[in-house]
């Protein structure tokens, strides 16, 4: 029994059917952690990318260092830091929040690079033309640079959303009951790992396919007429 739901081990099919609602509970957690982590990564990445672009070295340099550090260390380190070290400083977060935050922090290093590359891919002449027309820096960014960068940024971000989903099982080490962890617990208790693990694999496939499809739909909705994309 898990989440108050009993399983039926009489036949394989009955077993699979009975644990499906339990796995779906785990799947909801997986989706929530992915989305929360993704949004944290989108926000924090934008912050890091902006800070790295500041002309002042005293700001740009630490931002670059943090990005590099996050990129070159395993997710598990960030997770352990947040889960075991933060409480020493009086910050105690539930395991789920800690895990989602760790995902977001880790992936902010990648999303920062996506933002930077997307903006850098806009030819320099665009900024110069905007300046020659006396558009303000703000307007140049919002009307000229951003629309041309977004169409390059969105597909790459979509790939990271799928990546984050696949990294969620790491959160099981801090007791988050995401989908794979739930399957493992079922296996531990019933000595049948094959069926829950296979089902998790299938559910994961479904999840990532849906996410990838969603990103593609979003991508086709973007106004990209005229923008030369390599």
């Amino acid at each position: 029994m898990l989440f108050g739901i009993e399983w039926d081990t009489s036949t394989s099919w009955a077993f699979a059917w009975s644990i499906l609602p339990i796995l779906l509970r785990g799947m909801v957690v997986t989706i929530q952690a992915s989305l929360l982590g993704f949004f944290v990564a989108l926000g924090l990445g934008l912050l890091l990318a902006s800070l790295k672009g500041v002309p002042l070295k005293i700001i740009a340099w630490p931002a670059a260092f943090i990005t590099e550090f996050l990129r070159d260390t395993p997710l598990l380190i960030q997770l352990f830091f947040l889960y075991y070290v933060l409480p020493d400083y009086g910050i105690v977060l539930p395991a789920f929040l800690t895990g989602a935050l760790a995902l977001g922090v880790q992936y902010s290093a990648y999303t920062a690079e996506v933002y930077r590359a997307g903006i850098q891919a806009v030819p320099r002449g665009q900024k110069e033309a905007a300046r020659a027309l006396n558009l303000s820096e703000r307007l140049t960014f919002i009307h000229v640079i951003l629309p041309q960068a977004v169409v390059r940024i969105v597909p790459a971000m979509g790939n990271y959303l799928v990546s984050i989903m696949k990294d969620v099982p790491v959160l099981s080490v801090v007791t988050v009951l995401e989908m794979l962890n739930v399957a493992k617990i079922i296996g531990d208790r019933t000595f049948n790992y094959l069926i829950p693990l296979t089902m998790v694999g299938a559910l994961y496939l479904l999840l990532t396919l849906v996410a990838a499809w969603g990103v593609r739909v979003l991508d086709t909705r973007l106004p990209k007429r005229g923008i030369p994309l390599k």
Binding site: G125, N134, S136, P223
Partner: protein, 259 residues
């Protein structure tokens, strides 16, 4: 004669070790049509880019329309210009680039109305009307709703000219406006530029390798060499009897490339 509308005094521009403008002195009178010629790397684009405030200067002073461009009059003489001052000065100039630099995600119309609306504060209707007049001037009234990528290079450059004109600049800067075009498209762009050259008020600075064109439209031709003006004068003088050996060599190389 009036006060010059552009006056460069001892302007130095360096890129690292490389001195691109070497104590350049250069003046342009209001309404004058000046063509800049010279070998690649001699600093022709840099002059225009300095004027358009795309490139800072290291030394010297540039005056545009009676005011220092890169400086402001402070308590203790000239001080580096603020962004507000640069914005005010930029208003006097428009620039046409070699590679057009149209905004690819905007329609032709939007390319023309963007700055008049958001910089000059024109209403959408006023901006649209102004854009339509200019599209007619450059012969592209039927392309208002097209995207730049749907136009030929010549058409794109004509849109770019209209876009710059929409800000009603006193000075138009053209940096090799036909160099990126297929030969058969050069004429349509030159025709538009020539029609502008007939406007007495408009001051024009044109960098080009189209020597025949330069001869026809310019009041004065300046030969740039190594960041300075080596020789300048009326086109018939520069093209027919250049004094400097370097000018002769350059003109010979451009007019008889096969030799």
């Amino acid at each position: 004669m009036n006060e010059p509308i552009i006056r460069c005094e001892g302007v130095v521009k360096r890129f690292g070790e490389l001195t691109v403008l070497d104590h350049l002195d250069f003046t342009v009178d209001p309404g004058e049509k000046v063509t800049i010629i010279g070998p690649s790397g001699s600093g022709k684009s840099t002059v225009l880019r300095v004027l358009m405030t795309l490139e800072r200067i290291n030394e010297g002073v540039v005056y545009v329309d009676g005011e220092p461009l890169w400086h402001e009059q402070g308590a203790k003489g000239l001080e580096p210009a603020s962004e507000a001052h640069l914005r005010k000065m930029r208003q006097k100039m428009g620039m046409v680039f070699q590679h057009f630099n149209l905004f690819p995600h905007m329609t032709v119309l939007r390319n023309l109305t963007e700055a008049p609306r958001y910089v000059l504060g024109l209403s959408p209707r006023e901006a649209r009307q102004r854009a339509e007049e200019l599209l007619e001037l450059v012969g592209l009234s039927d392309k208002a709703e097209a995207f730049p990528s749907q136009l030929s290079g010549g058409q794109q450059q004509r849109v770019a000219i209209a876009r710059a004109l929409a800000m009603r600049p006193k000075i138009m800067l053209f940096d090799e406006p036909t160099s990126a075009l297929d030969p058969e498209l050069v004429g349509e762009v030159l025709r538009v530029i020539r029609s502008l050259a007939e406007e007495h008020e408009l001051t024009m600075l044109l960098v080009t390798h189209e020597m025949d064109f330069a001869r026809r439209i310019s009041d004065r031709v300046c030969f740039f060499d190594q960041g300075r003006i080596l020789e300048q004068g009326p086109p018939e003088e520069i093209f027919s009897s250049p004094k400097e050996q370097r000018t002769r060599e350059f003109l010979h190389a451009v007019l008889h490339p096969e030799e």
